[in-house]
């Protein structure tokens, strides 16, 4: 099947995934609620109401994003698996890479919605300018990076015995570079430092690496 055809089909599948995600919002709403709950928890745990906010906030935000994001992407494939949809797609002429990309893009979009909403909320809660273009850019790039990897890892159902904890255990060590780069970039952006740009560059490089490797490896996981 030709490349343009795959793209066409991929777009259709992406639309279908979005429709599906919208109709069965439970997974994503729960992820969003987990994110808010975690943020509140951190607020109490680190006493974020005081002056330490600027220092700790980047770290808090990114750990919240990573945890809720990883759990949410795990769930999204889980449902497809349960309903046999993954199999229906596998026996169809669609290329596995297309299945993966369509799924990942859907996850990225849904997670960005949750994350942007959270940033808006955090802006109000902590009186910090979080909902600004540069930060939103950093969050977008970082989200693409970690979603690419965690979608790949959730493609295979390993979680039956572990209550879903195995996926973060696998994903998080691999995501250390992304976490570091995201937090530093966010921090630099908040302090409006000049070093923001190099961190964004590093983050972008990791994201590209992660997306490329995950896309290439997905067909092998079949």
């Amino acid at each position: 099947m030709t490349f343009p055809t795959q793209i066409e089909i991929g777009i259709k599948l992406f639309e279908a995934n979005l429709k599906q995600a919208w109709r069965d919002k439970t997974n994503w709403v729960t992820a969003g609620m987990f994110a808010i709950t975690a943020l509140l928890l951190y607020s109490f745990a680190f006493n974020l109401t005081g002056g330490l906010v600027r220092n700790l906030l980047p770290g808090v935000i990114w750990t919240v994003f990573l945890f809720s994001g990883i759990f949410a992407t795990a769930q999204s494939f889980q449902q497809d698996r349960q309903h046999g949809i993954l199999d229906a797609l596998k026996i169809s002429p669609i290329h596995p890479m297309t299945i993966y990309i369509a799924k990942t893009l859907t996850n990225i979009l849904m997670l960005l919605l949750i994350e942007f909403a959270l940033l808006l909320g955090a802006t109000i809660l902590f009186s910090e300018p979080l909902f600004v273009p540069q930060l939103l850019l950093i969050v977008t790039i970082g989200t693409i990076g970690y979603t690419a990897l965690s979608t790949l890892l959730s493609a295979i159902n390993l979680d039956r015995d572990n209550g879903g904890l195995l996926l973060p255990v696998l994903a998080l060590p691999l995501l250390v570079p992304l976490l570091i780069a995201s937090v530093e970039a966010t921090s630099a952006s908040l302090q409006q430092e000049a070093s923001t740009a190099p961190w964004i560059l590093l983050l972008s490089l990791f994201t590209i690496w992660s997306a490329a490797i995950a896309t290439l490896m997905f067909p092998l996981a079949d």
Partner: protein, 225 residues
């Protein structure tokens, strides 16, 4: 010599060391309708799943219409239709939406018309806009049949399709298979695993009986170990 629609050569599949399918070699000519018989655990599902490209063989090979199953080429996947007892449906889509998506994936021409006809033929046209999750088991199974026939497959792999269907449903299945044949001039090959041996004579042109992953009885002319 007639074309071979399905051919397996010492096809073996092991799960954690134990063979679920053990050196099965069969040759099925185009246009045949072969019943796959055997108890639970005899390897019927394993064989069909490998032929559908969802499972890799541990040893041996299988081809469908000349295409190697292990290579999973697009050409191969375009000609296979698979129905099994677990549905493969988007629970929160309507039948029309699900079929429309797969019509696009399979690049089915005149999709609208075909979907309408198939849904009517399987008897769920009145449910076309309901969420699939609300359909009964039997209705979902009928939808699966429509979906499997959507792209005019030349080889139909069925894993106990009669489960969930009542008498009417069974008759409909037989009719659809026959109708499929009339659609284009190429003969349709059917390999169907079934428990209902009493019905086999009504539709099958031959059978293969498996036990513990091996062929113990068959009407196929050539089968070698």
């Amino acid at each position: 010599m007639q074309d071979l629609a399905i051919e397996t050569n010492r096809l073996t599949r092991r799960y954690n060391g134990l063979p679920a399918l053990n050196r099965v070699s069969i040759q099925i000519t185009s246009g045949s309708r072969i019943a796959l018989l055997g108890n639970n655990g005899s390897g019927k599902t394993t064989l069909l799943t490998i032929l559908s490209t969802l499972l890799q063989p541990s040893e041996g090979s299988a081809t469908i219409l000349g295409y190697d199953v292990a290579k999973k080429s697009t050409a191969l996947r375009n000609v296979i239709g698979f129905i099994r007892h677990q549905p493969m449906l988007y629970e929160n889509f309507s039948p029309v939406e699900d079929l429309e998506l797969f019509a696009k994936i399979y690049r089915v021409s005149d999709a609208r018309e075909r979907i309408t006809r198939l849904l009517t033929n399987v008897g769920i046209w009145h449910l076309r806009d309901e969420a699939i999750g609300t359909l009964s088991r039997g209705q979902k199974q009928r939808l699966m049949i429509a979906k499997a026939l959507l792209h005019k497959p030349k080889v139909l792999l069925l894993d106990e399709p009669e489960i969930g269907l009542d008498q009417n449903g069974l008759r409909m299945l037989d009719e659809l298979i026959l109708m499929r044949e009339k659609e284009d001039s190429t003969p349709i090959t059917v390999l169907a695993a079934t428990h209902r041996e009493d019905r086999v004579a009504t539709w099958a042109t031959g059978f293969v009986r498996l036990e513990r992953g091996q062929i113990i009885e068959t009407t196929l002319s050539e089968n070698t170990e």
